[in-house]
Symmetry: C2
Subunit: 203 residues, 2 copies
């Protein structure tokens, strides 16, 4: 005999599919949606139903865009510099970089990082499309803005080699101490990297 009503159990199971959501969190979310007004669960249901039809990938930058748009508004925007391209792994990395308000170039989404363990090779990433953009938009600088992880480093190195023949400037996001962190709490690898890549600040 089940202790949980079927409709509730189905919702708990469906919520439990989300990344990092265990059975206890799924129960808590489901109970919250049941206790609060029906409008909250309906709103979430409608948003879910509209999701896949409302979003598509930009055919140039592979960013996520409104289904009604042709290309990414960030790419379409004439005030953005098309000759500087930040290369990111996932569409959400664009949001993180946009929040800095410091980048006026355009983006290119790889669609993942090289990770043999997950079966992702370079042929699954949008690298040919990047090369096409380099020629079409006369790209002068590509900023490798991948994670500072093993996969991020591997992908950055691979792409650096792939782009070598194009003879354009290739840069990488700086690695070092995060702002506001005490030296003694920084991990060894970060601190080692900060030491290796120490920056010249005075004579």
């Amino acid at each position: 005999m089940s202790v949980v009503p079927k409709a509730l159990e189905e919702l708990i199971e469906a919520l439990g599919q989300l990344p990092g959501v265990g059975p206890r969190s799924a129960e808590r979310y489901a109970y919250f949606l049941l206790k609060t007004s029906r409008s909250k669960s309906d709103r979430l249901a409608q948003a879910l139903l509209k999701l896949h039809d409302g979003v598509k990938k930009c055919p140039v930058t592979y960013a996520l865009i409104d289904a009604k748009d042709e290309v990414s508004p960030l790419y379409d925007d004439n005030s953005r510099d098309k000759t500087t391209v930040a290369l990111v792994a996932d569409p959400f990395d664009i949001i993180a970089l946009e929040k800095t308000s410091l980048f006026r170039g355009t983006y290119h989404v790889l669609g993942g990082l090289i990770s043999p363990i997950d079966g992702i090779g370079p042929e699954q990433l949008h690298i040919p499309e990047l090369k096409k953009r380099v020629k079409k938009d006369k790209v002068q600088e590509i900023i490798l803005a991948t994670n500072a992880s093993v996969e991020g480093e591997t992908t950055a190195m691979y792409i650096q080699q792939e782009l070598a023949a194009l003879k354009i400037k290739v840069t990488r996001l700086a690695q070092g101490l995060p702002i506001g962190v005490d030296l003694e709490y920084a991990d060894q690898i970060t601190l080692g990297r900060a030491l290796e890549r120490r920056q010249n600040v005075g004579e």
Copy 2:
């Protein structure tokens, strides 16, 4: 100009309503639902749409039950002892107690805990219905199975007084050291309680 497509933004907002889900988690869930097959998001949407119609409260125990059931199957089950009632704050507390497989009585859900700060007074809890059950089912023992928190204690004490006139056995879940915890890591209050309520094991 929005960096995130509208359909995705709406989903992130709707997911952000869930308790303890911040904007970053909501983004991660939404992106996961977009990346994986449409069937996952549709399954979640359907579960949400069916939630409120598929679940109701048992009119006797106030547990959550299938809309098609009349009373809680746990209450309806003749092998369960109706004269022993575990009093819990929320329907999900029943699941926790059922997992122990040690309780053969029935449940009564209060529907919350007394908490003046949240505007919850005793009149909002299913206490009159409990008293009715005591008479109808000839209840012999009520186990106060509320949280070991301030609200849980307050509610337990209030109900203890309310039930005093009925002259039935009222018990409370034991408080003390949780199993597997080192003495030195136990908090002071728990350790103090364990000392006060020390159990006789010899003689």
